[in-house]
Each structure stands twice: as C-alpha cells, then as structure tokens.
Symmetry: C2
DNA sequence: CGCTGGTATTGAAATGTTTCAACTAGCTTG
DNA sequence: CAAGCTAGTTGAAACATTTCAATACCAGCG
C-alpha cells in the first residue's frame, strides 16, 4: 500500500514551460499569443506546436492583473425566474458574446442587501461594466460605482435625472395604446388590474391609461376602476375578479398590467362562465411568448425585449470603454399594440 | 482651454496604499482581510479604518493568481430563451450564491463551436467547475476538462457510462407515465409529436411510451403514430397536425414531447374545430409555468426544475472541491404526472 | 541574567502574465 | 568596411495579492 502515492500535484503549465519547450523566451511566447505579426514564421510555428503539445491554456487572471480590467460584465436582474428577463437575456448575451465578453448573472431577488453584496464582488472582480435593474429606488450607490470607473447601465428603468445611462420602454405610451384601443372598441367602463404604484412600470402604465381616457374627452374617475394587486401573479389576477361587479353595469373591459396577471384573469372569467371577448374584453401587457397562444389569444402590448437587451449591452460597451464624449445616454423604445382575439378581433 | 486637464489618471488603490496609510506592512493588511484572528485588536481597528477611509477594494484577479482557482463557476445551457432553463436557473443560483460563487452564464445556442469557445474561455478563467447541458452527443472534451481539474456536472442529461457526474430527470419513466395515463383513459390510437431522436430526452420519452403500451399488452406499432418535428416550437407543433388523419379512425390522443409543442397543437386543434378533450385528448411534458393556465389546462409531466438546478449546483460543489472519495455520481429525479383538463379531468 | 515560549509583525518570494527598452544578427549603403 | 537600418528576440520590471520563514518584543522562569 505504502508505495502507492498520489500523482505528483502537477503544477499548472505557464508560459515559462512553453518557452522552455520551444526554446524561446517568455516574451516571444506572449508575442505569439497577442501580436503574432511581430514573430518570424518558423518561430511562430514552433511555439504554437509547443502550446498544443503541452496543452497550455493562458491564465485570464494573470492577464487581467497586468492589463487592467477584465472581460466579464455583470448583469443584475431582480428575478431570474421572471419570463420578462428570460426574454431580455438572449439579447444581452448575443451582443456580449460578439465582444468575447463573459456574462456574469446575478439575481438580487429584490433584496437590497443581496444586490449590494453582488455589486461588491463584481467590483472586486474589476468588471468593466454592470447592467442592472436596481432592486430599490435609490441609485446613488450605482452612481458612485460609475464614478469609480465601472460602466453602468440601467435596464428597464429610466435613468433618474440622467445620472446614468439607461434603456427602457415607454410605459406611459404603452398604457395609452392599451387605453385607446379599448376606448375605440366602445368600452366605457374599464377595470385596471395594476401592481403597487411604487413600482415605476405600474405607475407609468396607469398614467398612460388615464391620458388616453382624457384624450377621448371622458372622465378617468368614471371610466377606470383600478384594483391594486399585492403581487403580479396569475393567482392574484384571478382573485382580483372577486372585487369587481361583474354583472350588468360592471366593467366591460379588463386591462391587466401584465400578461401573467391576464392569464389568471382569463382563467377566472372562464370559471364564471363569462366569455371573452363577448362578455368581457381582456388585455395584457408585455406580450410574452405564450400570449399569442392562449385561447382566446391575448391582446397585449409588446415590448421589444430582445432589442432592449441588445441595446442595453451596446450602451454598456460604450460606457465601459469610457469614450469621453459619451454621457448618460438614455434609449427609450416604443411599445407596440398587438391586437388579438381577447378584445374581439 | 489648455489649462483644463484630465483628472490625473488615478491608479487603483492597492494594499500597499492601505498599509502606508495605516502604518503597517502589506502582510498585516492581508492578514486583516484573511486571518483577522492573527492580528492584535488595535491594529485591526486601525487597518480597517484605513480601508474604509481610502475606499480600498481588493483585487479578485490578483488573489486568484496567487491562490489557485477562482470563485466563479460556469453554467452552459443550450438556449437561455428556453423556459425550461429559466426555471432551472433559479435553483442553481440559490445554491451558488450561498457559497459566494459567481454564476457565469453561457449559452451555446446549440452550436458545438460556440460551446467549445466558451469552454476555452472558462478554462482560461480557471473556474473551479462547470455545469453543462452539452450541445452535442460527444462529451469526451468534457471528460478531458474534468481530467485537467475542472469540476464538471452534466445537467439534464445522464452521465454517459458514468464518466461524469450528472443530474437528470428520468425521461423513460416520464414517457411511461404519460403513456399509461392515456391508455388508462381508454385511448388506443396515440399520436406522438416527438423531436429528433438524436436528442436524448426525446429518445427516452419515446422509449417510456413504448414500454407503457407493451405493459398494457398492446402492440406499439399499432397504437403509436410518431411524427418527428424538426424543432420543438409551437409552430411545428401546429404544423404537425397536417400529417395526422384527424377524422374517424385517426388518433384519439396526442402526446407532445414538450409543453411548447403542445401549445401549438392546441391552437391548431381549436382552429380545426376539434374540441379538447372531447374529440382529442392532449398531453404535454415539462409542466412549465403556464401549462396549468391554458384553456383547457394542460395535462403534463412535471419535472422538478428547481430541485434539479439545486442538486446540480450541489454536485458541482463537491466535484469542484475535488474531495477524493467522490466519483461520477448520478442523481436521477422522478417525474410526476399532472392530470388536468386537456385529457378530460 | 540567560532561556524559553508565545504573540504580533515584517519582508520577501512566488504567482503568470504583458510590455518595453535593449540587444543581436544580417543586410544595405556610402 | 564602418555605419545604419530592420526584423526578430530577449530579459526584466510591473501588476496586487498570499504565504511563510524570520524577527522583534515581552513575560515568566530557573
């Protein structure tokens, strides 16, 4: 037994080993890797052969130590499980992978502490930039990080006072589109299943809806019945129906702040034998992937999620590069109304 | 103009600066950070004060250079957009964040080249481990990486010949559950909308279905009509209906390999005026979040996605730690049948 | 007073790169 | 043939940490 010993703890290979194997100096190996045009053809071949033969893999940390900031950017979302983010992420990934950047995914789970902790680790890692949907209202800590040289772009939230770059969709306009659509169909009593108004997106969509009603020369107070849900889930969407007078004189249309909420509402209406869109028109928001596939298919307000992600990544790239001439840019996308069966196409 | 000059390119602070500020050596600063119990109380306070005052943030790359492998693990999925992965990811994230590990998200987009490229970068970054749903059949490159000291766990795929750790759900059993359910309801002509059989999951579910039919003493060749879809999307699911004899003598039940496919099938059936479940029973697989919310609600086979992610992360942790005594462990979860309206509850 | 043991701190080596000034060898040119 | 040029290569410093042997100081003890 005693003569069985572990295989000698092989030290990881470094450029020194490659240099020795190829009979050149480390500087040359580095040149082969980074500026091959400086190296003579035969040497180039020899060194590359050695790299292959030994299975050498350069160390990113060592590179970064010398070179400054690294090649992975942070992406902080509030909840990875949310389908909205899963549809935004591909856009981000696409753009980042083009730049050979790694995507470090952090989920704050809506906790300020967790967010702060992740931010700290990201700073330690010397990431060149961070893409974030902040958990809280206050973004001063983000401005501070930006000041310390980390690129920073707000995702799906307007950049308060243009202190930071931001990418968002115009939620007021989206609410307006939805409202105008329902009014054009003749609805005069609209129930609005909204989320808590501290959530910026909810407040904005509401504002848009009100605007549309006013533009039609009507009184928002009479037309809109707003119900505030504690959470934006199907369950809450269904439960909210309890609070509505569903018979004669009740609302003829339902605007849900979210497709997920709309899902629950649809289910609840079906249970009660209320047919959509005949007895009640229903609208959602976000146009998530399955919205078009429900029966009845759901009228919704589309957000260009893939583009949103791509634009955010793009903006982060320029912010992280620190090009002077670049200041707090804000990109606002326009939402698009998708009319489908649930409002009577 | 000429007297306006950039603020002197502030060099990032290092432990040297902190040491100078606190009047101690760098070694002591390092001790304060890593082994505070070795440092005398007053010194500790003084150094900590300096760190705070200067706003010093230690450099992860430098740490890693000295210390060996880093604190971020790679997670490679085939497609971030896939709702299946978005439901697995939270499980992974939860576990990793407990260990203070960063999650580096890579999407191979089903391209072997892109996967290889990402793997290369991850190796350069000296990640301690990688969680991966491989794009291709061949996993020898993964075994090789494992041999070079990178923890490796297969996600949602059995570890071929136990060469690697793996976490998966028993797809054969899942197919069997689905088949048995439909047979118990009296269906004797079942259409199976499957994906390409090179995809392991598809082949396994098929095997389960066949097994169930045999177990009922019937001939799979007669009972099952299999249609192979080029891609697992709603569009293809709907298109597949064209290939089925839908009238009298045609199948009375539809087993879709995927909820997404089932979605398309449901839509197609509705268009054709075929009512579910009366004229045709429909089943999906995965039990994604909205399956229960479709109308009719979709019978499906649930996979414990959150647990799957958590278990995978757990396994990766032990594999990466390189505890000897740990070899190619394989965790297989059991799927669960969720009976709903689409098969006539 | 010299030793021992213990605690707190230090200084320097080591980690794996990149970069750059300096050097060499081989040519061309006047 | 000396001087100058070019292309290719080298060696060492720098990057920010960790670790560890060495040192300094002090108290207690024989």
């Amino acid at each position: 037994m005693t003569d069985i010993h572990k295989p000698a703890e092989r030290r990881r290979l470094s450029m020194v080993d490659v240099a020795a194997h190829a009979g050149v100096s480390v500087g040359t190996v580095s040149n082969v890797l980074n500026r091959p045009e400086l190296v003579a053809e035969p040497t180039l071949r020899r060194v590359r052969a050695s790299i292959k033969a030994l299975g050498f893999v350069p160390s990113a940390p060592a590179r970064q130590l010398r070179g400054g900031s690294g090649r992975s950017v942070g992406v902080m979302v509030r909840d990875i499980g949310n389908p909205f983010f899963s549809e935004v992420l591909p856009g981000i990934e696409t753009r980042l992978s083009q730049e050979q950047l790694l995507l470090v995914l952090c989920s704050s789970s809506d906790s300020i502490e967790k967010e702060a902790h992740y931010l700290q680790i990201l700073e330690q890692h010397r990431v060149p930039g961070i893409l974030i949907t902040p958990a809280g209202q206050d973004i001063s800590h983000l401005v501070e990080l930006r000041r310390r040289g980390i690129g920073m772009v707000l995702l799906d939230r307007p950049g308060a006072d243009s202190q930071l770059c931001a990418v968002a969709v115009d939620n007021v306009r989206g609410g307006e589109l939805a409202g105008a659509h329902l009014l054009a169909l003749g609805h005069r009593r609209i129930a609005f299943l909204n989320g808590p108004s501290i959530v910026r997106q909810c407040a904005d969509r509401r504002e848009g809806l009100v605007k549309a009603v006013r533009a039609a020369g009507l009184d928002p107070g009479e037309v809109i019945t707003e119900i505030t849900l504690p959470a934006l889930t199907p369950r809450e969407g269904e439960a909210a129906l309890e609070l509505l007078p569903l018979g004669k004189g009740g609302p003829t249309a339902l605007f849900c702040v979210n497709d997920t909420v709309a899902l629950g509402a649809l289910r609840g209406l079906e249970r009660r034998g209320i047919t959509v869109p005949h007895d009640m028109a229903v609208m959602g928001y976000d146009d998530v992937e399955f919205a078009a596939l429900l029966s009845p298919s759901l009228t919704s307000v589309r957000q260009p999620k893939h583009q949103l992600g791509q634009a955010a990544a793009e903006l982060l790239l320029t912010d992280a590069r620190g090009d002077s001439g670049h200041w707090h840019q804000e990109i606002v996308f326009q939402p698009e109304l998708m009319v489908r069966a649930s409002t009577g196409a």
